[in-house]
């Protein structure tokens, strides 16, 4: 039976994790290495790390942090942030990254996605799509960390990226980001129904019930969250956490949840 993936997303700003609300006003959360270790120790399904200033600084994801996390974790690890060349992807994969996330450069040059898929394989290529609802009520894709409007509709863009060879779409609602007020389920559904490749829903998770809404109502193949796994309580105290299998099973059903209660391996090095 295939399981629904529940994926923490870490936003890296220089050397620390930041958590935004609606793509603004980041709050420093802590060390990315530490967070990755905690999630690895909790046996989570997968980890996504996005270097959110790499693009504007004209570089790729922070190599040192990426390789240290890759070295210490035994789960699939997806990395994004400023990726524009095949060589950057090659170096990331050699460092132990499994999949790369392309966002702004896919908008600037869609052919790059095809080139990357042809060299590295579709299952290595995730296209990250950030979406905001305009004042007209229509949804629009934004690039450059949510700063540049593209004029693209999310479903059409997702379909184009699928045609180019993307293996998966990471769909983030900018309006729900950091709010923990629930996913934008109608948006997720329109995009997921438009493509045959998996869609990861992101932006707005605040309770485990939201995961069920994204999957059953939104047809997402996987659910991702940032704030939900980094904060706790009404004052948003920083506390790295992940739902218990029993809570996930209650909302997703036992057969769609991967039970992680097999003995957890100790970390590969002392710290």
């Amino acid at each position: 039976m295939h399981k629904i993936r529940v994926i923490p997303v870490l936003l890296l700003k220089h050397w620390g994790i930041e958590k935004s609300v609606r793509f603004r006003a980041g709050k420093y959360v802590g060390s990315p290495i530490n967070a990755a270790r905690v999630f690895n120790g909790l046996n989570v399904d997968e980890l996504i790390l996005l270097d959110i200033v790499a693009g504007e600084e004209g570089r790729g994801p922070n190599a040192e942090i990426v390789s240290q996390i890759a070295e210490e974790t035994q789960m699939p690890f997806t990395v994004g942030g400023g990726i524009r060349t095949l060589e950057q992807i090659r170096v990331l994969l050699q460092a132990g990254v499994d999949r790369v996330c392309i966002n702004t450069h896919a908008v600037e040059r869609p052919e790059f996605v095809r080139e990357a898929a042809e060299v590295f394989g579709s299952q290595c290529i995730v296209v990250s799509v950030d979406v905001k609802r305009r004042w007209t009520g229509r949804h629009e894709v934004f690039a450059r960390g949510g700063r540049k409007a593209t004029g693209l509709a999310p479903e059409a863009w997702a379909r184009r990226m699928e045609e180019m060879g993307a293996g998966e779409i990471l769909l983030t609602s900018m309006d729900r980001d950091g709010t923990m007020s629930g996913y934008d389920v109608p948006l997720i559904r329109r995009v997921a129904d438009a493509v045959r490749i998996p869609v990861i829903a992101c932006g707005g998770a605040g309770r485990v019930e939201d995961f069920a809404a994204a999957v059953d109502g939104g047809h997402a193949s996987a659910v991702a969250a940032g704030a939900f796994f980094l904060f706790y309580g009404p004052r948003r105290t920083v506390l790295i956490n992940y739902p218990h299998d029993d809570d996930l099973a209650r909302v997703l059903g036992e057969d769609r949840v991967r039970r992680k209660d097999f003995k957890v391996l100790p970390p590969s090095r002392a710290y």
């Binding site: 039976m1 295939h2 399981k3 629904i4 993936r5 046996n43 399904d45 997968e46 890759a70 070295e71 035994q74 789960m75 699939p76 090659r90 994969l93 050699q94 460092a95 132990g96 990254v97 499994d98 999949r99 060299v119 590295f120 394989g121 579709s122 299952q123 290595c124 293996g167 998966e168 997921a192 129904d193 045959r196 490749i197 998996p198 869609v199 047809h219 193949s221 996987a222 991967r258 039970r259 992680k260 097999f262 003995k263 957890v264 391996l265 590969s268």
Partner: protein
């Protein structure tokens, strides 16, 4: 020393680390003398069938691999694409494989609109053993492993299939025949189940 064949693209560091945790030192190489001296060989999991086969061919490795694996019976582990290369043919690139396992590699094809399973098959899926054997020793009855693939194999000979998984259709998740071992999933990315699996492989293959 275990040699992990290098056919071009992808994440091999995790395989090296996974094997190290399982008690075996491995090196990434495509050099004849490394392959000839290897106590075990790994065909890793990323790339394309036709391109990988062409790399082996142009590297002059096909004959050497056949001699080591089929002749000298050196243990070999194929992961994902690596296992697919054991088959006789793949739709991916319409290319001939190594032919060490009778069967072929085919793309997932699903009808059914929005309810059809998504392709690639990405994520954790439960695996069901087909027979008792060393590979799934000390693992729970339906262990989950991480899959990332758009193609799957179909074996002519059911006896080589060590485990199956369901994703829209039933397909072989692992094969084992003598010194030949293969997994469609990525044990190096499957947390504790994967670590246990690699440890079982290393012990079954007499590598540690």
């Amino acid at each position: 020393m275990v040699v992990i064949l290098d056919y071009g693209a992808g994440n091999l560091a995790s395989v090296v680390r996974g094997l190290r945790r399982a008690g075996v030192e491995a090196v990434v190489s495509s050099r004849h003398r490394d392959v000839a001296a290897a106590k075990g060989i790994v065909l890793p999991g990323v790339g394309f069938f036709d391109a990988a086969m062409e790399r082996l061919r142009s590297g002059g490795l096909l004959g050497l691999l056949e001699e080591r694996v089929l002749g000298a019976r050196v243990p070999v582990l194929g992961i994902c694409l690596g296992m697919q290369m054991f088959t006789e043919h793949s739709e991916e690139g319409d290319a001939a494989g190594l032919g060490w396992i009778r069967g072929r590699t085919m793309r997932f094809r699903f009808e059914g609109g929005v309810d059809a399973p998504k392709v690639p098959h990405l994520g954790w899926t439960a695996v069901r053993r087909c027979a008792e054997g060393p590979l799934f020793d000390a693992l729970p009855p339906l262990p989950c492993f991480y899959f990332a693939h758009s193609y799957h194999i179909a074996c002519t000979d059911a006896a080589v299939v060590a485990a199956e998984a369901d994703y829209g259709i039933r397909f072989p998740a692992a094969v084992h025949w003598g010194n030949i071992y293969g997994t469609q999933f990525h044990p190096e990315k499957s947390h504790d189940n994967g670590a246990r699996f690699l440890r079982n492989f290393v012990k079954a293959a007499g590598l540690a």
